[in-house]
């Protein structure tokens, strides 16, 4: 079985973005391979077994792209490719990126594409499935050896059977990843990473800006301000908390 796994980082440290007045500073050194992508790679390696192959891809750029690919390579994948020229967290042009990625993957004979489900990233799985004509299974929290899956919803789960070729998005709790060995980590650092330019039309890109409506901490005293409740409602409306 030939499996592609598309990996990315996960924001776990709020200091990945710091602000000064209206300026935003980005600290990519705080970003590492996401837990759900670790689960996706682990699943891929297990499914592929001895006769299959797992190829890694990422839409992460620069040092983050290289870091997540090295981390995932150490888990047992065969090759690593970075797609250059997009932002995996930008939902405004994810459909354009997914179109280019689908074109690239189309004739390579993949049976399965696994993508970690990362909060805050731009979803691409549905676009890939649609463009490639694959079945789609999302929020997968379990995949058994006979291909029974569970999809997590808010109040319950969907259960069914995966039909390949398929795109799966995988939750972090789908499988416990094994820690890569030190020699595997060392070998991964030496592996070459292929670069593929996406040449996106980035006119529709989004921007990261300072959040103006963050936790104000305003306390009124009803004795001193008899209109405190009106002030509260006005503030909630102003912040968009109450429409």
């Amino acid at each position: 079985m030939k499996i592609a796994t598309i990996v990315k980082s996960e924001l776990t440290d709020p200091k990945t973005y710091t602000t000064h007045r209206t300026k935003v500073f980005y600290h990519p050194e705080k970003l590492f391979l996401s837990d759900s992508d670790k689960a996706a790679v682990e699943l891929a390696v297990k499914i592929a077994g001895n006769n299959g192959q797992v190829d890694l891809f990422t839409l992460e750029q620069g040092e983050v792209g290289v870091r997540v690919l090295h981390e995932a390579l150490a888990m047992g994948a065969a090759s690593a490719t970075e797609f250059v020229g997009s932002d995996p967290n930008d939902p405004a042009n994810a459909y354009l990126a997914a179109e280019k990625v689908s074109e690239y993957l189309k004739d390579q004979g993949y049976d399965l594409i696994l993508v970690g489900d990362v909060v805050g990233s731009a979803p691409i799985a549905a676009y890939l499935a649609e463009n490639l004509g694959f079945n789609l299974y999302e929020n997968v929290t379990r995949l058994s050896p006979n291909w029974e899956y569970e999809t997590e919803l808010d109040r319950g789960q969907l259960k069914g059977k995966v039909q390949t070729p398929a795109v799966l998005t995988v939750e972090a709790n789908a499988i416990e990843p094994e820690l890569p060995s030190f020699p595997a980590l060392e070998a991964a650092q030496k592996q070459t990473i292929k670069s593929v330019a996406l040449n996106l039309d980035t006119e529709e890109a989004s921007e990261v800006v300072v959040n103006q409506t963050q936790h104000p901490h305003v306390i009124w005293n009803l004795d001193e301000e008899p209109d405190a409740v009106e002030k509260l409602v006005a503030a909630l409306r102003q912040d968009g908390i109450m429409k």
Binding site: P91, Y95, E99, A126, E130, E138, R155, G156
Partner: protein, 303 residues
């Protein structure tokens, strides 16, 4: 023009909240509510009072278990229009939204907490985890979004019509409910919680009225459930349930750590307490030092 798309599957607990519909309506002057359902006849009254023009698409075979067929139906319905298609930022909402966006080959912008509709584009903000920044995207044409926005449900008359849809009876997946799926407190977008400071069981009646207006779920402290003013299923904290709503209103609650561990992940916290030194104020975005019963009565009249 915008469409809010929701599902009413009588066999599943994954339905959309009216407060989200109200929040969306506050942003889009021209909005149609599309409901895919297998029990339309039960829903006319509900949406006739929602203030939003609603079309119920009915087929007894409809089920959200069939995500592919649901997306296919919506694609055929909407492919020739050039609008914004809005889903609730729930797991189910996002799954169908992503599939629809893929079929339409348009952007899907999920988990939006703030919308500004301009003359040529819609500006959408998504909070980036617990950072102080947001991602701002501009949707210039057709697009799909999912929103975590709540509004106050005004009981205004609205036109409701019913149309048939054709869905085949295949069910590619089964649905298994989680153990605590019946407790609406766990899934509420807005929680109004009361503590011992509401004085007696009577004090909870106005709180329930306020909850009704905000489409909220009522929660309580252990001190309240211990004396039986509310059932134990309403208890928030280490001995009860943990909640993470968009808005948490706290009335007459001291803010003991055993309680706050169950609610401190809420997106916005509003606290009312007579004691200005009550620990709950440390968590509050907004607070009022004063009598909770008085504040609740005023809120009921104001919202």
């Amino acid at each position: 023009m915008a469409y809010f798309i929701q599902f009413e599957d009588k066999s599943l607990g994954e339905n959309t909240s009216l407060a989200t519909l109200a929040g969306v309506k506050a942003n889009f002057s021209s909005l149609t509510n599309i409901v895919l359902t297998n029990h339309a006849s039960d829903l006319h009254d509900k949406y006739a009072n929602s203030g939003v023009k609603t079309v119920l698409y009915q087929d007894e075979n409809f089920t959200v278990r069939d995500l592919a067929q649901t997306a296919e139906f919506l694609f055929n319905l909407l492919k020739n229009s050039n609008d914004t298609y809005i889903f609730e930022d729930s797991k189910l909402g996002n799954l169908v939204a992503a599939r629809l966006a893929a079929k339409l080959a348009v952007p899907f912008i999920p988990s939006i907490s703030n919308i500004k509709v301009g003359p040529n584009s819609v500006s959408l903000s998504r909070e980036i985890d617990s950072t102080k920044v947001v991602r701002l995207s501009h949707l210039k044409g057709k697009g799909v979004i999912s929103v975590a926005i709540n509004g106050v449900v005004e009981k205004a008359k609205a036109e409701v019509s019913e149309k048939p849809m054709t869905i085949s009876a295949e069910e590619p997946a089964t649905y298994v409910e989680k153990r605590d799926a019946g407790n609406d407190l766990l899934f509420a977008k807005t929680v109004v919680a009361g503590g011992k400071g509401l004085q007696d069981a009577e004090g909870f009646k106005p709180l329930e009225q306020l909850a009704d207006k905000l489409d909220a779920s009522v929660g309580a402290t252990k001190a309240v459930t211990d004396v039986g003013w509310l059932p134990v299923s309403r208890m928030i904290g280490i001995s009860g349930v943990s909640v993470k709503p968009d808005i948490f209103y706290s009335f007459g609650i001291a803010g003991a750590v055993q309680h706050t561990t169950g609610m401190d992940q809420s997106k916005h916290i509003i606290a009312v307490n007579t004691d200005p030194t009550a620990p709950i104020f440390k968590l509050a975005d907004y607070g009022i030092v004063g009598d909770a019963n008085q504040v609740i009565d005023q809120l009921i009249n104001l919202v």
